[in-house]
Symmetry: C2
Subunit: 585 residues, 2 copies
């Protein structure tokens, strides 16, 4: 079965049916504001952190599937349809979704009416834009209704999906002209709100889900769309949403364009209010003004395009193999940037609620994007290192919003420390920026414990070197890179994590994978030491690496011979970075 | 608007439209197996604990609303409908839901076909039964298809709704004849499974949600029902369900009956397997055999009815006011029993995921049901007391499955200790069973710390007596009975619980409510002491109570005068239990 194709000229993947085997999503946003968007306009937005600062609500593992997102309803007489097919699922005469670099265009056609939704997160902005273009391709004048609709999340996605006793009583909005402000908890203890807006005033709006959808209604059949229209409802508690209704009158061949936005605004504590009970909307109004016209939207798209053009320009191959070129030149680098942005913390399967970003994940992901955005890789290395424990071990995950280690997950994944060396070494090799080693970085996010980054690397190395098992191989702790191999966990109790370790944590179980890492990144560590003149430390590290490689670690009960070691670990010492190197020999 | 009426003869609330303002639910189950069931057959089942042992999946705050449950699809030619209207929402010719005492009957009629679903959890069983009766009221022979459908939860409701990365890979089922076994994680570390069965073999079945519903389908339009039928799908991972398809051929005036069950089975560790990979089904088969016939179903209903008749027989009024009689004689007592069973830990708003059962809640709920089920009230008192801390304070909540205090919520709700005295005193007054005071009960679930229950009461009293603020009133700690009054919480940070207290926990903020409780239940404590011959302790307690009541607690900075004390606290000393008393004077 074929559901689409690559359009290399436009650097897009083009999906030609809405009925993909599962929703196929794109990741919009490169800085602070992110949207996951499916090929039928489902998805969700968040600011920095998919758990702690969720802007719109999404229901994972739902049935019906992928009902939440950024849907547009088109009402043409009695026929109601969506350009992305979902959620009404009216059969379309034509459909197309273009997932591009940081943007997505969804276009549908029905009974001669063509409607496109263009989505993008502009560079330097905390918002997503949606341009809607409606074209009357029929031979007669048409009066159409269009309705955008989204559901707000009450900020903390975990709380939002479990604590209804409280949440049903807290929702608050303000509506001013074409803008709907979601301000739940702003009064009590938040300095941020969300805003959904249109670039012109609607005929009507709704901010209460029940008013728009109906008690027993559904996104597939909202009562406001199928019935008598929006009713200017103002949400007090329950489920705040943003929905609007526009009447478009189009002559034959005529088009009309609307620009919508979903923004996130933070105000300083002393500038939260315009007057008592009324939020300070100035920053939102300025944002809205910046994207009032189609020209402004075009300019934002050009800026985004230039950003990606520049990012991808650093590393290009022309091999004669179309598929290889496409993957290396476009999609692998694009994926690496997405990984940089959210490090697998949010998807349609990874809810972003149970975890933050991984220490290991983020460190190893560096290898893929360090050549594209060395400055941001530098920042990421320092962020990760700041969550490391003073003994060299690490929180396995940290929250991107707070940049603090995640206590709920904890530590003890014994490959973590060496990944810090791996990521830093990749950065040094790519940039030659040795000054990073002198940066002062917290341990455990405590400034009182801060040390130069180089000291972090030393403790990473030492942690592995001093936590060895009976064969002289590194102890696995709770897990190594293969998260499913948890040698110390013999869980017999429901509800217990498979990554739990008992009172006998780690006295025996060893990881050949970490041994391989130690050989590879131990050499990298020695290389770094020698480069900055720490010859004695380098020699000592090289000796430890050689002992590990040769199975001659002193005190091992039964030294492992090299032939027993996992071949990937052995071969790791011969792997070299494939990107251009400006730093290392 | 009127949505139903009370049928006092049958002790039922009768709902006459499926379009109630929200789903109106009944609570089935009195022992270990519980089902929350809406008037349209939505809802969910669990074993003892709504979080840790969830049997079927439910999506709270969903849109569309209330799609999960125990729905039956009827396919009559091209017309598909549900007797409970949801989820297909085909208009019915007649509809009725009868929420009775521990059972619910939903009946719908369409095009001359009448279908009823009778739901009940039989006494002494870990299962729910659903009897389906289909009557052909037309003048012609009919061939109908009926499909029951439910979705399994992967046991831990919180994990089930957030950890998709793992959960999508773990689902396992077995199918044998008319029984579908849900056995996810049984192989690894569970000794329990669920089983859905019919009392005769279906034409076909499905256990994979996608096969029954379709990728982009919905419970409102399952592809198996609207399309070509069930396909005998066997779930491996993803979403295990139970769906079956039956063909019924009915002459004019003829009826047919099917009995379905949803059971929960625990096996001893050494009897888990019939053979490798095949679960031991003997206990399930025995359960299925017990309810194979309509007569067995009728007998179970009679037993349930007798149980309730007996329960409600202990306390009846005849006031001449129909509404008062109805509430006192039926519904208030019914509600109290539901509260006993799950202490507000599960509903359609309280997800049962974020908490267990309350220490305070359970203790005060005792007052409502102690006269109905004194033996079980006794057990509950001992369970609650076993979670108390040695200093007399208490975990605010505990998990009903493990009966252990819930660390996630913690302690510091300073009214909690006195509720233990309140509940125990009510029990003593009702039963005269003074032996309960001699029962040995753990502190903090640690047998090494066990003491007689009387010692628990003493520490409850002492805890309050010794945690006073500057006015000599009890410190509120994190909160008192009014959970929304959290005087020590000045949360300025998003995500922080409003019941968090800072480093300055409790040095000043006092609770007049707890002061009132201290007066009332301090007297109760003194009463208990005197009754068992602890005259000195009684005198001392009475003195402390009098000082609290008179605002003369020694050392108070500015003693509260009685007139300032909240009137409810003052009046509390004059309140007397309203139920019959067999124990106290």
């Amino acid at each position: 079965m074929k559901f689409g194709f690559f359009d290399d000229d436009r650097k897009e993947y083009v999906i030609t049916t809405p009925r993909t085997p599962l929703p196929w999503i794109n990741y919009l946003g490169n800085e602070d504001f992110f949207t996951l968007l499916s090929n039928t306009a489902g998805g969700y937005s968040f600011f920095r952190d998919a758990r702690l600062r969720r802007i719109t609500r999404y229901r994972y593992n739902n049935c019906p599937l992928d009902q939440e997102g950024f849907h547009l309803y088109v009402k043409d007489g009695d026929c109601v349809w969506n350009p992305g097919w979902q959620p009404v699922q009216t059969d379309l005469d034509a459909y197309c979704c273009r997932h591009g670099l940081g943007y997505t265009v969804i276009e549908g056609k029905k009974n001669g009416i063509r409607v496109s939704q263009e989505f993008a997160v502009p560079m330097g902005e905390r918002c997503m834009l949606m341009r809607v273009t409606v074209h009357n391709g029929t031979g007669e004048a048409k009066t159409l209704q269009v309705f955008p609709y989204l559901e707000f999340c009450l900020w903390d996605a975990m709380d939002d999906s479990s604590n209804f006793q409280r949440n049903y009583s807290t929702g608050e909005v303000e509506v001013v002209g074409p803008a709907i402000y979601h301000k739940t908890e702003y009064r009590e203890r938040r300095d941020h709100y969300a805003v959904f807006w249109a670039n012109r005033g609607p005929d009507a709006f709704d901010t209460a889900r029940e008013a728009f959808i109906g008690t027993y209604g559904s996104p597939a059949k909202p009562q406001a769309v199928f019935g008598t229209g929006c009713t200017d409802s103002v949400a007090h508690g329950w489920q705040p949403i943003a929905a609007q209704q526009f009447t478009l009158r189009l002559k034959p061949g005529e088009s009309d364009t609307l620009i919508f936005g979903l923004g996130y605004i933070e105000n300083p504590a002393d500038q939260k209010w315009e007057k008592p009970g009324v939020i300070n909307k100035k920053p939102a109004e300025a944002m809205i003004a910046r994207y009032a016209s189609p020209e402004a939207f075009d300019a934002a798209m050009e800026k985004l395009s230039a950003f990606w053009e520049e990012l991808l320009s650093g590393y290009r191959v022309k091999t004669g193999d179309e598929k290889l070129d496409r993957m290396v030149n476009i999609w692998n680098q694009y994926q690496c940037m997405v990984t940089f942005n959210m490090s697998r913390s949010a998807s349609y399967f990874e809810s972003g609620m149970g975890r933050g970003m991984g220490f290991r994940d983020s460190a190893q992901d560096l290898l893929g994007f360090v050549h594209m955005i060395p400055e941001r890789a530098r920042e990421r290395i320092l962020d990760i290192a700041a969550t490391q424990f003073p003994d060299g071990s690490a929180y396995h995950q940290y929250q991107p919003l707070t940049k603090k280690g995640n206590l709920a997950v904890g530590s003890g994944f014994n490959d973590d420390p060496l990944w810090l060396i791996a990521g830093t070494y990749a950065y040094l090799c790519e940039t030659g920026d040795w000054s990073i080693l002198d940066e002062t970085v917290d341990f455990d996010n405590d400034p009182a414990l801060a040390q130069p980054l180089m000291e972090h690397l030393r403790r990473s190395f030492r942690y592995t070197e001093t936590h060895l098992g009976p064969h002289g191989l590194p102890l696995i702790g709770r897990a190594d890179w293969n998260d499913c191999l948890n040698l110390n966990c013999f869980s017999e109790h429901p509800g217990e994590s498979f990554q739990t370790t008992g009172p006998n944590e780690g006295p025996v179980a060893e990881s050949v994978f970490i041994a391989g890492m130690f050989v590879k990144y131990g050499r990298a560590y020695a290389d770094i030491c020698r480069h900055i003149g720490l010859d004695a430390e380098a020699a000592e590290a090289e000796k430890a690496v050689a002992q590990m490689e040769n199975g001659t670690v002193p005190g091992s009960a039964a030294p492992m011979t090299p032939s027993v070691m996992w071949s990937a670990g052995r071969n790791a010492t011969r792997v070299r970075f494939s990107s251009s190197r400006r730093g290392c020999a």
